[in-house]
């Protein structure tokens, strides 16, 4: 076993387009062998950050290092070791899937050692021209292009966009397998259930700034439990919201639904003062926590 250096270091990254500050100073690190989620609403700066990592656009200020290499100065050495999946996979219509794969494996200068496995796993169409492909089929080609030469770091922009639920599951399994092989994965996504399943840590970016950077486990604890309760007597929303640890109270199926953080004991004792007809508790989805970051510009991670 050996300890490796950090895979990705973003230090004070800024990107300005004229008067528009797309990225206002992002700093974060991704460890080797980690699956790191990068979330944020549309226009937050996710794709800008990713494109800076690839040197497709140049930062206004700050530095990015991937695998110890400068993302702007050492692109040749770096790009031999990364795989990239763009947010919108566009390809020339007249080329077939096989031609596209051959073209890009030549540019990579490496044999596509994982090609057969990926094609079989995702049932990728290879023979028809791309112009006949659906979005999902193009996305599968994009996944193959990113993974086929077995890169050390994968930079994925909304990788499961356009994939059906079965393929999303297959993709998540692929990510976990690659992580087990020591690969580092940096992925942006809007599909929070995927992020919850595969990522160890997530960063949430909003308005060009990172507003949260936490382990998924920590966020899970913050999300707490989701409780659905039906009362036999009259209980108001205000009464429930006054219970310590209770949040997001809303009416649901003739009763109430709300989230509870921390100990359930206080809640149970408060509910016991009323006639409880039905009570159900389950782990709250992280989606609600993430949406708070999207919706509440004044709150930071500590406050949510």
């Amino acid at each position: 076993m050996k300890t490796e250096e950090t895979a990705i270091v973003i230090d004070g990254l800024q990107k300005t387009y004229g008067k528009i500050r797309a990225v206002k100073g992002i700093s974060m690190q991704v460890e080797r062998g980690e699956i790191f989620g990068f979330l944020g609403p549309n226009g937050a700066g996710k794709t800008t950050t990713i494109r800076c990592m690839l040197d497709v656009i140049r930062p206004t200020a700050g530095a990015i290092r991937v695998l110890g290499l400068d993302a702007q100065r050492d692109t040749h050495a770096l790009h031999q070791r990364i795989g990239y999946l763009p947010g919108d996979v566009r390809l020339p219509g007249e080329m077939t899937g096989r031609q596209v794969i051959s073209y890009f494996s030549r540019l990579q200068g490496r044999q596509p050692v994982l090609l057969n496995d990926l094609v079989a796993r995702f049932d990728v169409e290879m023979k028809r021209p791309i112009k006949g492909y659906s979005k999902g089929m193009r996305q599968k080609i994009g996944v193959v292009l990113a993974f086929m030469c077995d890169p050390d770091v994968l930079i994925l922009d909304e990788p499961t966009s356009g994939l059906d639920p079965l393929l999303q599951k297959a993709f998540n399994e692929l990510l976990l397998e690659e992580q087990a092989r020591g690969k580092t994965i940096f992925m942006s996504s809007h599909i929070m259930s995927d992020v919850e399943k595969v990522c160890q840590r997530v960063a949430v970016i909003r308005g060009g700034e990172v507003v949260a950077l936490e382990a998924v486990e920590t966020l899970r604890e913050k999300a707490g439990q989701r409780v659905s309760v039906e009362f036999g007597d009259l209980v108001t929303e205000d009464e429930l919201e006054r219970i310590p640890g209770v949040s997001m109270v809303r009416q649901h199926n003739g009763g109430y639904q709300f989230n509870v953080g921390g100990s359930m004991d206080t809640l149970i004792k408060a509910l016991a003062q009323h006639e409880v007809v039905r009570l159900q508790a389950e782990e709250a989805p992280l989606e609600e926590v993430f949406l708070k970051f999207y919706e509440e510009p004044q709150k930071t991670a500590a406050q949510i």
Binding site: P86, V89, Y103, R110, G182
Partner: protein, 281 residues
């Protein structure tokens, strides 16, 4: 956070080849093919029309300053197959049509790969922007050379069916080299525009427009000696293919001016392409 890393082997290398160059030649195949076909068609048509044209005494008309400006050179008469070929194929028409094709293809060469997402994916590979640009340039120029050689080949083929074609093939080759110098200029202009503009048709159209502007400059410059100075700022002045083909006259450094201008434009385009942010598709 300390992590363990599984040992993985690096995939075997594979030959890179000139994938970008070949792609740059393949993408404009239809428009370049149209150009080659047009040249072949003209050459074939001349075989049928030149007997009739040669019987008409158009000498003073053809050699007038106005017409010389239109055709970009001097042709004393159209009494021979070679002179008619020069008029129909190797006059300014060549630069306008075939040079225009090369300008369009070069102008669109970079932006088309922005539009179809290929550029982002290519630059995420270990391919520098300089290499991408140079391979694209080489591919465009190679397709122009193939088009030019095909047209010359068609002229040779049809001349075999003509008695006394009146073509000096050594000077025909020199004429072709002069036209290739014009291609270098057209491609340089196209690449410069293409490095600035993200839309392929717009970039190609602007590049063609510049070539056409050069043609207009040539026409107005030839109208009167008062406008001689206009000729010297237009590209057609430095590629007087009809003078070379028919009169066997060439100021040797003129084509070098076109090559130098093309290279300067190309280098500026390269610097711009290297420095700019590439747009999201």
């Amino acid at each position: 956070m300390a992590t363990t890393v599984a040992q993985t082997t690096t995939p075997k290398k594979r030959s890179e080849g000139l994938a970008i160059t070949l792609r740059a030649m393949y993408v404009p195949r239809i428009i370049v093919g149209y150009g080659a076909f047009y040249g072949a068609l003209i050459a074939l048509l001349v075989v049928f029309i030149y007997p009739a044209m040669s019987s008409i005494n158009l000498g003073s008309y053809i050699s007038s300053p106005a017409i010389s400006g239109l055709i970009g050179g001097r042709i004393p008469n159209i009494n021979s197959f070679g002179n008619v070929i020069a008029l129909e194929l190797f006059s300014s028409i060549y630069g306008l049509i075939f040079g225009g094709i090369m300008a369009y293809v070069a102008g669109a060469a970079l932006p088309v790969n922005i539009e179809n997402g290929m550029l982002d994916l290519a630059l995420s590979r270990p391919i520098s922007r300089t290499r991408y640009y140079l391979e694209t340039t080489f591919g465009v120029f190679a397709s122009g050379i193939l088009m030019g050689l095909f047209i010359l080949f068609c002229v040779w083929i049809v001349s075999l069916f003509v008695k006394n074609p009146g073509i000096d093939w050594q000077w025909a080759w020199i004429t072709q080299l002069v036209q290739f110098a014009f291609f270098v200029f057209a491609i340089g202009i196209g690449l410069l525009i293409g490095s600035l503009v993200d839309a392929s048709r717009t970039a190609g159209g602007v590049a063609v427009g510049i070539i056409f502007l050069g043609y207009l400059i040539n026409i107005f410059g030839g109208i009167s000696t008062k406008f001689d100075w206009l000729l010297k700022i237009g590209p057609f002045y430095y590629a007087p293919a009809t003078d070379v083909f028919v009169l066997h006259q060439l100021t040797w450094w003129h084509p070098l001016v076109l090559v130098a201008a093309g290279l300067v434009c190309g280098i500026i385009g390269l610097v711009i392409f290297n420095r700019r942010d590439l747009p999201t598709v």
